[in-house]
Symmetry: C2
Subunit: 328 residues, 2 copies
DNA sequence: ACCGGTACCGATACCGGTATCGAGATCAGT
DNA sequence: ACTGATCTCGATACCGGTATCGGTACCGGT
């Protein structure tokens, strides 16, 4: 048990000053090769582990990048985080994740907490933070990236796509395939709602609306999709298409349809959102908008990094990463 | 832009000493109600955000709990993290996640880095860390929990189940349902390998082995499952069961079978692992071992917390959370 | 009036690193 | 040999909080 080894111990073991030890371990300049080797060996010998806390404190800056997502239980976000991690790997910066559970209050608290660690940058989800959160963000001068949405005005940088337009585009694709009696099943979430209304607006342009819909609160799941779809299908006759707020829900419906022998996509077209890799196992069964979650995460991280490199001498960037429509 | 507000600024604004301000903000004792209100108001007024870095540094401890998982792209781990977050919420401790990509070297680096932040506790995945990593862990005196496996000797605490036994149990269930010509498709991963060999050992007890198998490296995916299953099924005739190292792979095969009209589970039994909620959309199609990821994460976090509360006066705990076998 | 106890406050000394700066040694050029 | 530049090193002063401890004010009891 090597308890509380400090730099001083390393320095003593190497027979140099604390300062030289510090420089040697950081490969800073003003140290001789001989001492670098001596100090590193000494550190290894006594099992020294640097104190990031003290170092960051002394430096007045950290290598932390705060990343805030609404949930972990929806594959989409872990994939985004994966992209962030990937882009940050080897950069010397480290992501720190926070989960809001779609709760504004919780998001505010998480951000306050993150900021109290003085992160070098911040990546968050969505553009529709409430006023108090926005004030928090505006009072800071670190690079910030908001992801997954571009319908609104970003605090700083932005990576994603227009949720409204995504819904709209899908509606137009569906309409041009001749579908007319359309149902909707979706989560009551900001971004899902934007897609819904985008979809709806395109339908309205053709003089139609949702034939029926089911909205729900809380986390979306395959089971929820199956349940609501069953309800919708058995209640409302003659639907020829159901738009789901994501692929998970659509997949639940797929299970139901396979069981009932409903012919997909001829009799009924299922439309999801996200383009989960999962769907590749069921080719042609579910139409979807394929979003590039990893790429969005990666891009967000890259923007933070470049912004950091240029020390804020850079204008806010907005990068659109269009979803790709995949019809059934 | 309120840059670099410090406690001294708050103290000045409130007309008290730095120390009183510190106490007021932390609701420490030895402060009058009047001053608490005055200080908090002042802090709000000038937009003060505490410096966790300095605070943690000053009292030589953090409220960080390091959590290390091999991947984010496999739903299982985000669910574990979700359980950890849940258990930690309101405890005053905060999880910090790290992803190893199933890479020992990377895991070592991540742990070194985490330890340099002096976390209060550590939660990691698996029991089979290499020697250098183990040394790192043994040289520390914070509570450690290893998750998701119990085949081996934990460094400290342990939450999970025997991977070997899980494979064995499933094999026995499959055998007793009369299956005989069994194939295996799986990832070359420590825990998957344990399940494979457990499964195999049970088969061996009945004088049979894998009729054929396909192993692969890298991340498992639905597509990989579909591809390998297609290969296995078309190459090897008369298989009556395929054991997959997880549900994702099995699901890929499900898609293939549905397409080819292979009658599940009569003609062919698919056996996965994890019990993803996803499978509920396809009842009776895939047998699986349902593991409680959230509960494992939650329990791991709870063990760390109680261990912290009792200040290390507690013996290492091992909690087994048995997977539940769900036949098709 | 005196005393001990309690509540509250602030000066001071750290925590473990790093930035800074001045000093000594070494070296090249004249 | 002298000058100036370069390299290497260590003493010192912080970074922004918190622990500690001594001091003051006020209280109730005798």
């Amino acid at each position: 048990m090597n308890k509380n080894k400090t730099l001083k111990d390393v320095a003593a073991a190497a027979g140099v000053s604390k300062m030289t030890a510090s420089r040697a371990l950081r490969r800073d300049k003003d140290v001789s090769e001989a001492n670098i080797e001596k100090v590193r060996q000494a550190a290894r010998d006594i099992g020294y582990i640097g104190n990031h806390l003290a170092a960051s404190f002394a430096n007045k800056r950290t290598d932390l990048i705060g990343v805030v997502v609404p949930a972990m239980t929806n594959v989409v976000f872990p994939q985004v985080l994966s992209g962030v991690s990937e882009a940050l790997a080897g950069s010397g910066f480290q992501p720190v994740f926070g989960v809001t559970d779609y709760d504004d209050e919780k998001e505010y608290e998480i951000l306050r907490n993150m900021l109290s660690w003085r992160p070098a940058g911040l990546i968050l989800t969505g553009l529709d933070q409430p006023a108090n959160t926005l004030k928090l963000l505006e009072n800071t001068d670190i690079p910030i990236v908001q992801m997954m949405d571009s319908d609104g005005s970003p605090v700083d940088n932005c990576v994603g796509f227009s949720q409204t337009l995504a819904g709209r585009d899908m509606a137009m694709a569906i309409l041009s395939s001749g579908r007319k009696r359309i149902g909707y099943i979706g989560k009551k979430d900001t971004r899902a709602a934007k897609r819904r209304s985008g979809f709806l607006s395109a339908l309205a342009d053709h003089g139609i609306g949702y034939h029926a819909e089911r909205l729900f609160d809380g986390p979306s799941s395959v089971e929820m999709g199956r349940r609501l779809a069953e309800d919708l299908i058995t209640t409302e006759r003659n639907l020829d298409c159901i738009y789901f707020s994501n692929d998970d829900l659509a997949l639940g419906c797929l299970g139901f349809c396979l069981e009932r022998g409903i012919d997909l996509p001829q009799t009924l077209t299922l439309v999801g959102f996200n383009g989960l890799e999962l769907l590749n196992a069921f080719p042609g069964k579910i139409a979807t908008s394929r979003t590039s979650r990893q790429e969005i995460g990666r891009t967000a991280a890259e923007i933070v990094l470049s912004s950091l490199e240029l020390r804020g001498q850079t204008d806010p960037k907005t990068v659109i990463i269009q979803p790709e429509i995949c019809l059934a």
